[in-house]
Amino acid sequence: MAYAIEMLHITKDFPGIRANDDITLQVEENTVHALLGENGAGKSTLMSILFGLYQPTSGVIKVNGKEVKVTDPNVANDLGIGMVHQHFKLIECFTVTENIILGMEPKTGFRTVDMKKARNKVIELSKKYGLQVDPDAKISDITVGMQQRVEILKMLYRNANILIFDEPTAVLTPQEITELMSIMKNLVKEGKTILLITHKLKEIKAAAQKCTVLRKGKCVGTIDVASTSEEQMAEMMVGRVVSFMVDRPEAKPKEVCLDIEKLNVKGSKGTLAVKDFSLKVRAGEIVGLAGIDGNGQTELAYALTGMTKVDSGTVKFSGTDVTNASIMQHYRHDMCHVPEDRHKHGLILDFLLKENYVVHSYTDSPFAKNGVIQTKAIDEYAARLSEEYDVRSGEGINTITRSMSGGNQQKAIIAREFDRNSKVMIVVQPTRGLDVGAIELVRKKIVEQRDKGAAVLLISLELDEIMNLSDRIAVIHNGTLSGLVMNKNVTENEIGLMMSGGLSKFDEEACV
């Protein structure tokens, strides 16, 4: 079988660090080849070399059997290599067609853009590869899943034969992930080669034939996916046995700490996104809120944390009414909030890491004295948090947060929120975009907080995570509570039905 890409004995040194150490990656034509590794294992560096963003210190790159020198990204484009980035590079106010043709517009006789031809070409490509898009819709109006399809079409429009997907599922809903998997299979059937960069083992199992595993800049090996179990792959990636199941002793719930009563919240469109929602979370238990994306979880989390106004109903923290109190008041009443959108809310990206660790507490002793920031106290605190939560960053606590990897940014938020040991914890999508090792750490910390007596409301789109961590499971469908059950008495299938509104089930034991 011929290789589409061969990267042979690639080594790349940066000042003080060897990012890639003698890595060999061979991708067969017409296959999906996965590249697996934790954050910082060297995946991005290797891909940047393939793309011509970096030059390797030593090693050879071959494309379709011919040795090539990729001096800059344009060379990679000419070689038919295209990349679908994790964070889409689309212009929001342009239409789908305009985004796809941008930079390679078909021209009319008068040197103006031939939109008709462009549109037809987009429709033709989307039909051929089964990538459903609306060519005239604006990017800002379409779903994330469709935006990703636009990114893929952009590459196909440029005649890319080798497609690199960089963490493509990080931003997708479970349904969109399934769809993407079938799209990838389709592309391979049409003669394309796919290199899938990921740390999600399930997806590798579902889509890839071969998988190369990197760890700490070195190549651990290339395996046949069909004959390797997820556990084995995880072990190769992390270097030790990983447990997906968190050790979670029986909960001993105590008094009610979070009391939501008949809550109604309006969404961005002005209609009710959360309707008559009631739920109690007690100290020392984790309640998981399952639901399909867009069923009111975001609005509920905003309302509970004071970020939006509540239409009617009440929210009480340990008996104190905090309905429509300021965000600061919520924190004062012992709440922590791991927000869904870490870039928009969770972090001030242009701040240093250490500054981000104190965004809630910068006015408190010992971080401030008479209104003056105490740098030394903050430094010490930040160093401890980074250490305890394994937050890795290039220049330690003085790293600009924007330059950190997504996984480490998320760990920094977790560290900051969990370290306050709050009584009420609103945790939204805590492990989105994290690698296996980090997921294990975060999940363990959540259980640890529960055992310290926190009332945890875990809102997650990953059913695995809900099933894994929750003592009780609440399900939200279309803004209303469609089920409340004990984790031990329910199957994944039943939860799925409740999520889609096909079943409503309330355990007597679960309804406190």
Partner: protein, 364 residues
């Protein structure tokens, strides 16, 4: 990959390029470009390269510092708002508001020396802050663009000053275009060291303002929350910071800096209340100063001194047969180079990459 070059490098390159472009244009139009440097050195040190026998005339460097004073303050003003994510283009209005308050205290209140001067400056700061309150308030609570309100208030201040001054202040009977002179108790003294320069103690006030800016912005919890709001207002809202209050306060503090500039110019350079027929442009100049200074305290001080040097050199240019517009031209070129800083750092990357490659080759 684009490496981030420090704001300092970019600014220095912009300045060098700006001066070079000035030289180029002189050369093309058949004048001696070296005269730019003769003029700049004269303004900077008081030493004339063409007439070394004359020695050093302190008046020139003192005038340079004098002309830098107001634009350092307006630069601080624009920079302070900018760090909170606001664009303070209302400097002209705040400046005039400061002037009105200064004249009011100077002419209508009787106080002992020093105290009287300080009272004038404090009043001007307050007036600048009040003038900046409205755009800040409307931005924070009604989400109305502060630029529009600021620009409207600039003209409001211009004409309000005309009416207010003519109605309430004693007008100089000879010119009818200004108030009578300030009493002797209002003075910033003279630090001319025997020269004809009007340089004065106002410079110390400017330096104090620079220090206050630095301390508040970089060292206090208030500055921390302002910076957070400026970088990511949604993120700072999530953290429980009082974004709206911060927006209003930041605008007001910015206005205070500009108000002080008004008082210092009136007391130090004029000694009477003015009836403005047009803007002095100190407020607008502050935008360039803040931009080139990277919106931090020391940067603004340095770029204020630089733009002050350009302004102070205009007469020197003319003496040497260079049109004084060359000063504006150089300033404009500097701003353009700072504005296209991504392009500048791209070129820097290319250069450093080439050097790296050569080194690698030599090593091999």
């Amino acid at each position: 990959m684009t490496r981030k070059h420090s704001a300092l490098t970019i600014s220095i390159i912009a300045v060098i390029m700006g001066v070079l472009i000035g030289c180029l244009i002189l050369a093309v139009t058949g004048r001696n470009p070296l005269n730019i440097f003769v003029a700049l050195i004269r303004s900077l040190t008081g030493f004339s390269i063409n007439r070394p026998d004359r020695g050093i005339n302190l008046m020139y460097p003192l005038n340079w510092l004098l002309s830098s004073m107001p634009i350092i303050l307006t630069g601080l003003s624009v920079a302070f708002a900018y760090r909170t994510g606001l664009f303070n283009i209302g400097g002209e209005g705040q400046f005039i508001a400061g002037c009105i308050a200064c004249s009011f205290v100077a002419l209508m209140v009787d106080l002992p020396p020093v105290v009287h001067t300080l009272a004038c400056i404090v009043a001007a700061a307050l007036a600048g802050a009040i003038w900046a309150f409205l755009p800040g308030f409307l931005k924070a609570y009604r989400n109305i663009n502060e630029v529009v309100i600021c620009v409207m208030l600039n003209y409001t201040a211009l004409y309000f000053n005309d009416w207010f001054t003519r109605t309430f202040f004693p007008i100089d009977t000879f010119t009818l275009a200004r108030t009578i002179d300030y009493p002797e108790s209002v003075s910033l003294g003279n630090l001319g060291f025997g020269t004809a320069s009007q340089f004065n103690w106002g410079f110390v006030i400017v330096l104090i303002c620079v220090a206050v800016f630095w301390f508040v912005m970089e060292k206090t919890t208030f500055g921390y929350s302002l910076r957070a709001t400026g970088f990511n207002s949604e993120g700072s809202r999530y953290a429980g910071m009082k974004n709206r209050r911060n927006t209003v306060l930041s605008m007001m503090i910015a206005g205070a800096f500009t108000g002080i500039a008004g008082a210092i110019v009136l007391i130090g350079n004029y000694g009477y209340g003015r009836i403005f027929t047009s803007f002095d442009n100190f407020g607008f100049d502050g935008i360039s100063v803040a931009l080139v200074g990277g919106s931090n305290a020391l940067g603004v001080l340095a770029s204020g001194l630089l733009f002050g040097l350009m302004a102070a050199s205009e007469t020197q240019f003319q003496i040497l047969g260079i049109p004084s517009e060359i000063s504006d031209l150089i300033q404009a070129a500097i701003i353009i180079f700072v504005a296209i800083q991504y392009g500048v750092s791209l070129v820097l990357d290319l250069i450093s990459n080439n050097i790296m490659k050569k080194k690698v080759k030599e090593a091999a």
